[in-house]
Every structure is written in structure tokens, then in C-alpha cells.
């Protein structure tokens, strides 16, 4: 075992005492210099040009970054007019092909489809309905035998179908929407089949389609009052897939679609947050708290019905704040952090909406705080945020405009 060496350190104490007694005179004009510096500081923040330049530089940097993110986001999003014409262009051919494949429309009937024009380019479903109905009318008036592939006898089902549709129309006028939870959507009181449910159900769907066509022919193609569900996602890359295959079916004489077209008018999010800030190092602090946000939107379905959608979000944001400038009362800081938002309650029209996914967002702010007491400060923050793409069953302003500029005013409790 090593023996610890003992030193005689009494000389260190003597050294210390001696050095501490060194006669030191304060620098000449020390106080005058200090006083001058203090006066410059006291002139304050508002008269210091360099500070303003640095703040302006930081703010410009943030604006440029924010602007670039917004510009990128805008470029990725196709304008609605372009979307409509894109859908229209794609859908004309697709409808012809799909209809002929599904119900055995002849070449003559295909020609009729050709002359159909897309009057309302915003409504893909409306177009689909019109196209299919008109096609059938035209074809049935000329030759009813052209729908040979339909494997249900029209005569025998006519009366039953008629009754069903009447009931359905009455019922559907009362209903506005269906619950949208997760991937599976449900039709209230009626079965709904998705494209993933196998060939057997596709066959069954074809059966129903036939009945509907027969009935519609006889009922003068009245589609008014049809109950449309709201689609979770509109696939613009393949619009017809939503229309003719899985998301576009006829049932009980009613042409229904899963992907009814709707438009959103999103209002500005309103929020309130309570935060606390804990200093980690000299100019670095961590901030957290609770934030509530209300996302309110007006949803218009096929340019006809308008209902209100309210989503109430709660989150626990976490952020790091770096104070780059501090005076006695004011401080200026840059903050960056994340915010997981969870929808605690959602409602569209009279229906509740459940969203079981967390909406993550990241953000950067430039803020100014005015200290009103030892631990409480008023702050104003401007910055930009980016909401990460999340597969939500409803559209929100955060998903529509994922990058955005934020402005916040608040009160903060801090312990430094």
C-alpha cells in the first residue's frame, strides 16, 4: 500500500497572508471611467445603435428563414384551381374506363361520357355522380339491355329499392357527418366497405351498384339529400381511385362516396399558455408549461352545407431560451423548442371527433421581456413554427399551413 506523502504547508498560509497584504492602489480615474460606462448603459437600450443593429440582424435572419419555409410550403401545395383542373383532366378518362370495366358500358355509351363537361371543377364527386347518371340515362333510353352485366333483376327489386331509397333520403337529410376515428370510417346504420376488404366485398358492392343504377333510372336520378361522409384524406395524386374504386359506391339506390369534396375555411388559432422558466446557466434557461389552443374551422361540403369544426388542443411545450441582451428590467432572447399538442376534445357539427395522434411542432422565437417584479415578466414573442406532418382524420390549419409565423403576448414566472 502506498504511503501518502505529508507536506509541510505552513509556508502556504504565510504566503497567502503576505500576498493579501500587498498594497494596491486603485487605477487612476478608475471611478470616472466606470461612471462614464455606467452612464452609457443607463442611456439605455433604446439609444444604443449597435444593439439595435444586432437585434435587427437576428430578426431579419429569422424572417428570412421563416419566409423560406413558408415559400417552400406554398410551392408544395397546389392551388385549388390547379387541383381541380388536374382532377378533371385525370378523371374524364378514368371515369370512362372504370365505368366500362365495372358495369359494362358499351363504346357508344363511352362516347356519351366524352361529351360531358366538367362544369363544377371543385366537386369531383358531383361530377362523378352526374357523369354516371347521365351515362346510364342515355344508355337506358336507347337500349336497356346494355347493362347486361348487372346481375340483379331490376323488375323484382324495383319496389323494394324505391322504398329503401325514400327512407334513406329522409334519414340522410338529418345526418350531417360520420364519426372519423382512425383509418376506419363508419356509415351510420349502413355498412361501408373499403378497398382493402377483399374481392368478396367488391363483388357485393357491384351488386349494390347495380340496384342503385336501376332505381336511379326510374327515379329520375334524384341525388338530392344524399348522405355523404367526410373523407379523411383526399388523394390528389390519384383522384379516381377515391371515386370509382373503393371510395365511390352505390347503395340502396343512392350514389355515395367516401371522399366527398369539402372545403375548409380555417380561422386563426387562439391560445393561452402558462409557463415557468428556470435558469440553467448564465444566459440559458429552460421554459415549460401548459398551452391550450383552439382550432376553429368552417367546413363546406360540396359547396352546399357548412358546419363548424372546433378542435381543442392541450400541450406541454418545452423550450430553451438564450438571452443575448439583458438590462435591469428588459431582456431579449432567442428561443427554440418543441410542442406536442394533443386534441382533448373535437367536434364537427353535432358529431364528436376523436384524434388519437399527437401533433408535434418545432419553433423558434425572438422575444422581449419586461420585468414587472422580481419573478414576473411581461413578454412579447414573434417567430416561426413548423408543424410536423401527421396523418390526422380531419384537416386542421396546422396541417394545411404547416409553416407559420407566430405572435405571442404573455406573462411569465421565472426564478432568476
Amino acid at each position: 500500500m502506498k504511503k501518502k506523502i505529508e507536506y509541510d504547508d505552513s509556508w502556504i498560509e504565510a504566503f497567502k497572508k503576505s500576498v493579501e497584504s500587498v498594497d494596491t492602489k486603485l487605477p487612476e480615474n478608475g471611478w470616472e471611467r466606470l461612471s462614464e460606462s455606467l452612464s452609457e448603459r443607463d442611456k439605455g437600450f433604446f439609444f444604443n445603435r449597435n444593439r439595435w443593429i444586432s437585434i435587427a440582424a437576428v430578426f431579419c435572419g429569422l424572417l428570412i428563414i421563416g419566409g423560406y419555409i413558408l415559400w417552400q410550403a406554398e410551392n408544395k401545395r397546389m392551388p385549388i384551381e390547379k387541383q381541380s383542373s388536374y382532377i378533371a383532366a385525370k378523371s374524364e378518362d378514368s371515369i370512362k374506363n372504370k365505368l366500362s370495366d365495372t358495369i359494362g358500358i358499351t363504346d357508344n355509351e363511352k362516347e356519351i361520357i366524352k361529351v360531358l363537361t366538367l362544369k363544377n371543377s371543385h366537386s369531383l364527386v358531383a361530377f362523378g355522380e352526374t357523369a354516371m347518371t347521365k351515362t346510364y340515362n342515355a344508355s337506358s333510353s336507347e337500349d336497356i339491355t346494355s347493362i347486361k352485366s348487372v346481375d340483379i333483376k331490376i323488375d323484382s327489386t324495383k319496389a323494394i329499392a324505391s322504398e329503401k331509397v325514400k327512407k334513406h333520403c329522409n334519414r340522410s337529410q338529418k345526418k350531417e357527418s360520420v364519426e372519423t376515428t382512425g383509418k376506419k370510417e363508419q356509415w351510420k346504420g349502413r355498412p361501408f366497405y373499403s378497398s382493402t376488404e377483399g374481392k368478396a366485398k367488391n363483388k357485393y358492392r357491384a351488386k349494390k351498384l347495380a340496384v342503385s343504377l336501376a332505381y336511379n333510372t326510374m327515379q329520375n336520378n334524384d341525388f338530392q339529400g344524399t348522405d355523404f361522409s367526410y373523407s379523411n384524406h383526399l388523394n390528389f395524386s390519384d383522384p379516381m381511385s377515391a371515386m370509382v374504386s373503393s371510395d365511390f359506391i352505390m347503395e340502396n339506390g343512392i350514389f355515395k362516396t367516401r371522399s366527398s369534396l369539402y372545403s375548409y375555411h380555417h380561422k386563426q388559432p387562439l391560445g393561452i399558455r402558462l409557463t415557468v422558466q428556470k435558469q440553467l446557466y448564465n444566459n440559458l434557461a429552460v421554459e415549460t408549461g401548459v398551452a391550450y389552443t383552439l382550432l376553429s374551422s368552417n367546413v363546406t361540403l360540396n359547396n352546399v352545407r357548412e358546419i363548424k369544426q372546433d378542435l381543442n388542443y392541450l400541450s406541454i411545450p418545452v423550450r430553451l431560451n438564450w438571452t443575448f441582451l439583458r438590462t435591469n428590467e428588459n431582456s431579449f432572447y432567442l428561443g427554440s423548442g418543441i410542442s406536442p399538442d394533443y386534441c382533448i376534445y373535437g367536434r364537427r357539427g353535432s358529431e364528436k371527433i376523436k384524434i388519437n395522434k399527437i401533433q408535434w411542432s418545432v419553433g423558434t422565437v425572438l422575444g422581449a421581456q419586461y420585468k414587472i417584479s422580481e419573478h414576473i415578466g411581461l413578454y412579447v414573442e414573434g417567430g416561426c413554427s413548423y408543424h410536423i406532418k401527421t396523418n390526422l382524420p380531419v384537416e386542421t390549419i396546422w396541417q394545411k399551413n404547416r409553416a407559420g409565423i407566430t405572435l405571442q403576448i404573455g406573462v411569465r414566472y421565472f426564478n432568476h
Partner: protein, 188 residues
Amino acid sequence: MEEQEIANKCRRKDREAQQELYEKFGEYLFRICLRYMKQRSDAEDMLQESFLKIFDVIGKFKWLGKGSLRSWVARVTINECLQKLRKKKLLDFSESVENSKNTCDKPYESPEKENVNCIPPAVLQEMLLSLPDGYRTVFNLYVFEKKSHREIAGMLGINEKSSSSQFYRARKQLAKKIINYRKKQESV
């Protein structure tokens, strides 16, 4: 004015109170600066910056009894000095722990207490300033500020062993300087 009153008035940016604080603790703080900064001009600048910092953060000062303001202003000044040394990259503690262990085990010759007392304080201060920045900083913190090696390690972001090794080397060099100085004096 009492310390507490000075602090309160300084919070309200009372220029007279600020001057009084400067006059009351100026010399004491300047001595601290002189121990950490090799050049006098650097120490003067450091004193100025330290006072500006003190007046900036005086709102954070909590009165804990007599002498608390004195130790608080000293702490602010030491922190400012360390920050300055770090910025200038003068604190180099790159040394393996194993190496420092071996170094501390070697004995060295200690000067007599009486020999130290015979040397003028200014000369002793010169000896201290002639030490490398790293050694001097650790020596100052350990001897003058009475910090433990654990605290020093925390303050400087180094290993505890490294702190004790730096102190050992500083002590050894100082001892050698004192002995040599005494020998020279005796020969004269």
C-alpha cells in the same frame, strides 16, 4: 452607508451608492484581479468589467448578514476573471489523470515559514504571477478562495485529480522560487 443600504440603492441605480461600493470594495477586488491577470492593464480592465457586471446583476444579491455583500462581489469578480481566462484560452488543463497521479506522488522541498515572511509581499505576488495560468488559477482558488478540489473541478470543468495535480505543481514551483530567492539573498 451600510452594506445592505448600498446594495438597495445600487439596485435603483443610485450613482452615489455605486461610487461608495466602488470605493469600499475597489481595492479588495483589484487585488483579486491582480492575482488572476498577469498584466496590470488586464487587471484594470477586469476590475472595470467586474463592476459593470456587479451593477448589472445586483438585483440578484440577497442579504445574508454582514460581509455577505463583500463575498458576493468577490464571487462575481472571480467568475468574470475565470470567464476572461477561458475566453483567452489561457486555461489549459490537458493532462492525463494517470500522469497527474504520478506527479503528486513525488516529494518536493518545502520552504520554511520564516523564509516566506522575510520576502516582501510584492515579490511574492510577482512569483505567483510568474506561474503558468492554469497552475495559478487553481492555486488562487484553493488557497485564497478556499475552494475544494471538487469545487474547483466544477468551476473549471476539469477532473478533480487534474485540479489537485495543478495545485501540486503550482505549490512545487512556488516553493522552488522561494527557496532560490532566499538562497540568492543569503549569498548577497
